[in-house]
Symmetry: C2
Subunit: 361 residues, 2 copies
């Protein structure tokens, strides 16, 4: 049985051929193209020396779909692994309008000024850098961008969620090996990207805004129960009272949720990113969580599970990609699906017929 996909296996897991192009606004990509590829050991040495330029080039390799880039990237990642894992990884989600960028700018700048080494990454499968999506436009984080200890990297460009998330996950390894002790992973608060972010961070923060109506529109159901903490942003000016009421409401709501496996009780805080109020309190909540879960052993348990998760996730994604990108299957699938939708064929019989065809091919 011949899988055409497998010939291109080292392209990486994304299969969005023709979708990804050379990033438009990524300075590293342009930079790299002008130079020869370094040897893997040179990337590793540069990363270990905290050379931000080399780190950026290595991340570009991780993000590349070219087989030769991936081959080097995987060697670099493997060599960085022994130095990885020492950071605190914070996931931050919230709908557009919740003030994520301002919050990250505020908290990130405080942490950088306090001596932390901060890397800010993102998962946004819908992003196209040229459209200025989350983190794409660094002008929105001027202060943080200027901080010496901060490394800001936009989401890998548009592609399948699996591919985008894998790249972010691997970039964490490089950043940790480069000495970053605090990693933010931002997601856009819709679709499946939170599950992906949740599976690579230690603490998952939901940034919320006040009100119970439109503000919730677009946030994925189930996210509230995924959160280790909620911060109600924009608690400022005339919004202050509303934010405090919302805080009480969320606290009550969380009490109705089943207890989390970690034993941690998610807290609800208010803050104003724009006025830089309540920002440290959010960070202290994260630190409390880390302390608590380190003591109970849940911290390591979760990290271990995440490593396993990513191995299986990668395998599963590739197996499915091989099937769905098989030309014969791609040709037959729409008809089979239509017959199922028209109630002419059982879901299960349609599935078996396609699997038989795949086996035969």
């Amino acid at each position: 049985m011949h899988h055409p996909e497998n010939d291109e296996q080292y392209k990486g897991l994304t299969v969005n051929k023709g979708v990804e192009q050379m990033p438009v606004v990524n300075p590293y990509a342009t930079f790299r193209r002008k130079k020869h590829l370094l040897a893997p050991e040179d990337y590793v040495a540069g990363i270990r020396n905290g050379d931000i330029s080399i780190l950026g080039q290595a991340v570009t390799l991780v993000e590349s779909n070219l087989p030769q880039d991936q081959a080097v990237a995987q060697k670099v990642i493997e060599a960085c692994l022994p130095y990885a894992g020492q950071s605190i990884r914070l996931g931050i989600t919230g709908v557009p309008g919740a003030g994520k960028s301002t919050f990250i700018e505020a908290l990130g700048t405080e942490l950088a000024n306090a001596g932390k080494h901060l890397a800010v990454l993102a998962i946004d499968p819908s992003s196209e850098r040229s459209k200025g999506s989350i983190l794409g436009d660094k002008t929105r984080m001027q202060e943080l961008s200027a901080a010496k200890n901060a490394f800001i990297r936009p989401s890998p460009s548009a592609g399948s969620l699996g591919g985008v998330a894998r790249k972010t996950r691997e970039t964490i390894v490089l950043c940790e090996a480069a000495g970053y002790d605090t990693i933010f992973v931002e997601t856009v608060g819709v679709g499946q990207s939170e599950t992906a972010a949740h599976s690579m961070v230690d603490f998952f923060l939901l940034l919320q805004v006040t009100g119970t109506g439109d503000e919730l529109q677009g946030i994925k159901r189930g996210i509230m129960e995924m959160a280790d903490g909620i911060a109600i942003n924009k608690c400022d000016g005339t919004n202050r009272d509303k934010a405090r009421v919302a805080k009480a409401q969320y606290k009550n709501a969380l009490m109705l949720f089943p207890p989390s496996e970690s034993g941690w009780v998610p807290d609800v805080l208010t803050c104003s990113a724009i006025e830089k109020q309540g920002i440290w309190e959010v960070w202290h909540m994260v630190e409390d969580y880390i302390d608590f879960t380190r003591k109970t052993g849940y911290f390591d348990l979760q990290r271990t599970r995440q490593a396993k998760y990513w191995m299986y996730e990668t395998i599963n994604q590739q197996l499915l990609d091989n099937f769905y990108h098989n030309p014969r299957i791609a040709e037959l699938l729409p008809q089979a699906e239509q017959r199922v939708l028209d109630n002419q064929l059982s879901s299960f019989i349609a599935a078996h017929q396609l699997l038989e065809e795949y086996k035969r091919g």
Copy 2:
């Protein structure tokens, strides 16, 4: 490339070899073994005539992992498809102790007495019939079992969730073709079985009990946001006030959730299954939902999505089973996993090595 699993493809999708045995307390199975298999058209004729005995035998075929049984079962299902789809499908979940059996007995008996034709099915991958798990012991539903219009069927016996859920999903088709206009699908409220149930029903009811502490233990996080309605059971005796307080709390909590895609606002009711109070109100909520979603078109949209979901789910499950049951992979996987856990190997490199090995095999 040879997939040993594929040779046994018609065993159905469960791959829990050696786990499933002949059900111990299923009367139909024993009955069928004493007879010759009917021809597929005879099963279909019997089902269409509302012959409960033939229906039961056909369900046993659906549940069987024997290739010859599956071959007949798939023909029967295909022939029944044009007559399926006309029922209201209600999923019921809740932790053990929430009173699911009593509730189903109370609501089911009312509906059967009112002239409905009711089939009660279950998804419980952990069940072993001999252990008297949910629905396994019909003595817990004496009144309903005695009703003429009711067909009660325990969960397919223990196995992989995918296999158990598929069998329940196919059994719905047979029951609908036999004229059952109301289908209950019960799940146990833990693990992944709710997602499976949710993907085959029109309305998903969470049965809850009062209190905010131990009663929630064991319920899966995220279920509350999956529910189209919540019924707080055991609102009787000294529990009445607590139940009413809980109702208000849940109502407030639900208001904080993002709006559901259907536009339906989940309601919270109280009831006492044991005193048969508030049972009809729960059913009226289900009917309101059906009316509402039929008008908006969401009802059909969801049914269509579910049919698609099951086609893809079946394909994906089989592709993964083929891989993980490959003897070479089964041999290599534990070592690879251990190296990932020990941080000696990246999740992604481990995955690629295993996929290469699979391709080579």
